[in-house]
Amino acid sequence: MGIQDAADLDAPDLPTEPMPLNMGPSHPAMHGTVRMVLDVEGEKITNADVQIGYLHRCFEKEAEYATWTQIFPYTDRLNYVSPMLNNVGYAIAVEKLLDIDKKIPERAQYIRVIVGEISRITDHMTCLGAGAMELGAFTVFLYMLKGREWLYELQEEISGARLTHSFVRIGGVVGDLPAGYIDRLTEVLGKIRVILDDVSKLLDRNRIFRDRMDGIAIITKQEAMAYGLTGPVGRSTGLEYDVRRDHPYLVYDRFDFDVPVGSVGDNFDRYAVRVEEIKQSMSILEQALKQIPAGPVMLNDPRIALPSKAETYNSIEAMIAHFKIIMDGIHVPPGEVYSFTEGGNGELGFYLVSDGTGRPWKCRVRPPCVPAVAIMNKLLPGLFMADVVPTFGMMNMIGGECDR
């Protein structure tokens, strides 16, 4: 089968009638709650209407009532398989409004890169493992999730939570790396390299996997740009755009890494790009662990940083400062900024409008997976029903990020 045209397989002596079919919202392959209203003729899709919103939790409305710091827990729940990347993206946006984005302590920037790249790896491993399982490769799923869990343990060690980290702060990060963390992370990266090798052996030349992935749901580079695709989906088309490389933030300009791109733009390319990106993230992590300097992890600015607990409980000035930051929020000067970082699914943007108070006037999230889900309406017609599952899996829709 593979790249054969779907029309070639029509049996002219078997008549069929067009039929509307709901796929989802509760469907095991839907990666969260999403509904696809499909018109099918036999096994072929003639029209698709993807409907999102089932996991809408009013992120942007809630953000307008929260202090700037209180939004961090909300960002954990955007892309919940790479929460640190959301924390980092949001913090940088606010810091730009405060004009302190160039003054964050260097060690804090390295820590952000480290926890962010760990998040990126967990994101890709979740996507690849789930996508492979949906094609019958259950062992790959078990391997990937085992590797992901090792990394989650490290994230939990540093932040105290497995997924809901809320680890980044405006001006830095909550705390320093625990003792021995660098050695443990280095060890885990070595074990993940073994997992990637095993997965490659299981999938890269697997006839079933290739036939289900090759030539399916091809996107051209021009289409990727026209639809706003970024991240692994955009790069699978050959579009070489990565925010870390093209608009470096934090300390990404100090690392040597490649931006993997595909050549066909099909489902297999999206799989292969993610595998390569895990390797690049591991390389970035190893360089960061070597380079990370000593120093503070929080900007020492009383308008932004909470005073230490000892000071808070023993001096009236510190208690007042603590009270003001907690109850009234960090006062961000009036202004607007669109700040963007490379999320697990592509360009994660935060468009913030501040009116000078301790709460944002507007906190808009540019979700990187929405363009990938939106283009499904264009990709699915002409495919088979069975192609919906791997195609949707490789788009990596995360309901929390997509529906916000």
Partner: protein, 164 residues
């Protein structure tokens, strides 16, 4: 970083279409007269010096208390040139309507539906303007500043045989 974009815009549109331009926190922005929305965006996409191939994001800001009340905000990006710009198109509260950018960037489809859903701004020429995140029977536009956070919605009974 994208002053070139603003300079080209001002050079090309000298008839008051560009109301104001500026730069803040590394972002260049331009406020566009709403009736010139399509013309300016077409130029931004097609001019070889600017080459805004990607519509990164489209949303609205509710300037409650100001006139015009709603700003349609578009972030455009040139993958080849690595520059970007933010455009504002002000639309009034009584008739919040502006041209759709779907003919220029198909990726504007869902962001425009979301802006319509959450703010009530309509986009002329959009091929399928309906709610994106809220259900069809939702009353009101929740991201407007005058929509109370605690507002409750009437219960919806499903239409028999309905697929949408």
């Amino acid at each position: 970083m994208a002053q070139l974009v603003l300079d080209r815009l001002l050079a090309q549109f000298g008839g008051g279409e560009i109301i104001k331009t500026g730069s803040q926190h590394g972002n260049e922005w331009a406020r566009i007269r709403p009736d010139a929305w399509t013309a300016v965006c077409t130029f931004l996409r097609d001019d070889p010096t600017l080459s805004m191939e990607m519509l990164t994001d489209l949303t609205c800001v509710d300037r409650f208390g100001d006139e015009p009340r709603f700003d349609v905000v578009v972030h455009l990006y040139s993958v080849s040139k690595k520059h970007r710009v933010r455009l504002y198109g002000g639309v009034p509260e009584e008739n919040p309507l502006i041209d759709s950018l779907v003919p220029l960037w198909p990726g504007a489809d869902w962001p425009e539906r979301e802006a319509y859903d959450l703010y009530g701004v309509r986009f002329a020429g959009h091929p399928d303007l309906r709610r994106l995140l809220m259900y069809p029977e939702f009353i009101g536009h929740p991201l407007r500043k005058d929509y109370p956070k605690e507002k409750r919605q009437p219960l919806v009974r499903r239409q028999a045989g309905s697929l949408d």
